[in-house]
Symmetry: C2
Subunit: 398 residues, 2 copies
């Protein structure tokens, strides 16, 4: 079982803080956006005598509400096609356990959300990465790359759009290409759509919009980012495949029920006005614009413009991103401040990749983000492991 690459730098950050250094956290997808007070109020005004187990699939009232929510984003489902889970994490876990056998393989475009590794290890499943490249903004790798690694053991393709960690938003053409390959090779398509609401350029396409693929799609969802409610731990597994649903329900029954108070929040969230998303979306977009502009203005730095979510991956003129991110916390400060980033190496399955890349989560307000960029700019000037990049070739040489 691998340690979380995002969390392993935590002790260094704690040590920096003890020395009085302010740490800008761009390392983790914990938004600073306010959780809508209305959904917290729903919990505060609830009248519970006994906080009972809910249905293992989640309260029916909440599943009915979610049907309405999904209709708004063009997804037609029934309450009987939804299992409420403990965060998106449990939806991913149930998907792996329900659709795959130990020894099976899943194909995931890399870089990818590192915790997929943990769930794969738990399910005894092998992750087969195919590489997306920073040069074209981490677009879907060519279908030929998928074909090359598909074997008898391949059970599913895992995608996340808009993507964590790259921010890339798959186009309709890319989604259609995925549909074709899943139908042709009888693969499940696990679709992690945690960042659905945050698409800035281009159109949001859900795996559930793909006609004819209904029996192959397992949607993994969460309210964590949608309503800035990560701590609630509330997600959903959605599928029209009855056999997958029934198997996932057995795992759901073994853990009895999803969190009760969070379900009250989730239910209230569906009643928020549709305009609710306008403000956080505009805020994230402004942050993205600032971040990408600042990064690309730094000598030797390249950051493609992400189409969604609140992450970007940047290529830095550094020898090793793990070393650099640790150095930022351990040996660097600028005006008593530093910045915490996630080394991109942890998001690649292929050893050696991501060595010159970092992931930045733009989860701080514009002022803080600007100050964090000041830190990064200074740090890159001072870092002893700085190297030069041949921008054209996008290759590194010391």
């Amino acid at each position: 079982m691998p340690a979380s690459p995002i969390r392993k730098l935590v002790p260094y950050a704690e040590a920096a803080k003890k020395k009085g250094i302010k740490v800008y956290h761009l390392n983790i997808g914990q938004p600073d956006i306010e959780t809508p007070p209305a959904i917290l109020d729903a919990v505060k005004h609830t009248d519970i005598r006994v906080l009972e187990y809910s249905h293992s699939a989640g309260n029916e009232s909440y599943r009915r509400k979610l049907v309405k929510y999904y209709k708004r984003v063009g997804i037609d489902v029934t309450p009987e096609e939804i299992i409420i889970t403990t965060g998106g994490s449990e939806a991913i876990l149930f998907g792996f356990f329900s659709c795959l056998n130990p020894g099976d393989e899943v194909i995931i475009p890399e870089p990818f959300y590192a915790n997929y590794n943990g769930f794969a290890v738990a399910a005894g499943v092998k992750v087969v990465p195919i590489t997306a490249h920073i040069e074209n903004g981490f677009a879907l790798p060519p279908i030929a790359d998928f074909e090359k690694v598909i074997t008898e053991k391949t059970g599913a393709i895992v995608i996340c759009s808009p993507n964590n960690p790259t921010g890339y938003l798959y186009s309709r053409e890319e989604m259609e290409a995925l549909k074709k390959i899943c139908l042709q090779h009888e693969l499940y398509l696990f679709s992690d759509e945690a960042y659905r609401e945050f698409c800035y350029d281009g159109e949001y396409i859900s795996a559930m919009h793909l006609k004819g693929l209904e029996q192959h799609v397992v949607l993994m969802d969460t309210i964590s980012k949608r309503y800035s409610a990560c701590g609630a731990r509330l997600g959903a597994l959605v599928t029209k495949n009855k056999a997958v649903y029934d198997t996932a329900m057995k795992f759901a029954q073994a853990r009895l029920s999803p969190p009760g108070l969070a379900q009250i929040m989730g239910e209230a969230a569906v009643d928020l006005p549709e305009a609710y998303f306008d403000a956080p979306k505009a805020e994230y977009m402004a942050r993205r614009d600032l971040l990408v502009k600042r990064l690309n203005a730094m000598p030797g730095v390249f950051c493609p413009n992400p189409g969604g979510a609140f992450y970007a991956i940047a290529k830095l003129p550094i020898d090793d991103s793990d070393r650099f991110c640790q150095w930022l916390l351990e040996s660097f400060s600028y005006k008593e401040q530093t910045v915490m980033l996630a080394p991109a190496s942890g998001f690649y399955g292929t050893p050696g990749l991501g060595k010159h890349e970092v992931r930045l989560a733009y989860v701080l307000n514009l002022t803080a983000l600007d100050a964090a960029m000041d830190c990064l700019e200074k740090a890159l000037e001072m870092y002893p492991g700085r190297i030069t990049i041949d921008k054209k070739k996008s290759e590194m040489s010391v």
Copy 2:
């Protein structure tokens, strides 16, 4: 993955209710005891701006509180030996995944909590049951029975005291015997202590009270029953074994954090006056006394007196408990009422056992419980599959 034996009768109960029949639910461990208003108020009065991920091990403030709680029950631990989990369920899951490899075996005295099967399947672990018997109230089977089934692959013994589903409370001698065998064969002792607060006869002994066994014990805990807060989904894995803790933390990090609002409840719960447990405990004891008395007064029925928890297993003069429990819902009513029980067969690992036994959860008030017993008494008179028991031999003959 097996379906939950407790939940598979649910459609029959729903059908009965649609016909206008009142169903007394003695089938599931969902207490009717009020959740302490003070711990729900703690959530209502909280001032959260952003409901963030907590630490993967749970909020430090809550772990500190739990240290105090454990001290009161004679368990000395530090916050760094506690991982807050999503219900006791996740603590069990983490224990299986952290201590065992696929192909390993765990020994569990049967009848046992049926969901252990689900977690074992998920971890690729084989459950090896050894049989406890109703005749001596489901006391720990002789150590010789353990010795017989211990192999190279045995990784752990799983116990639950006070026990679900039998209500049996292990004595100090039994706990010491378990310690001896775990030390001798280098086995983990997984100790599910969900019902710690509800011991009626005899002394509560935690696995963590066993001197010299510290490195072997993994405590699986929950607030579900302690504070009648099953829906909160809040538990804990506690261990002094650093390697087990570190491995469990990797699984904890993969799922990010335990539920946030529930942790606020858990923290407030530690501040409840110690006398809080007096009332629910007295209530459960009165119910147990009524239940056991009523059951043993029915011809052909035998129910040992459980020392703790809120369950009892009774032997009934019936051909098949699955068939009987379904018949109760489908074909029987008395004064427009019936009772829902859990067939004991689902709690045994050995096929064929528990055929004449049911589990009763005394989670209803005395009036309801008495009415439920009226139903059961009538049902046993009318049930077409009634058989006679030779009480002395405790054997069945049609």
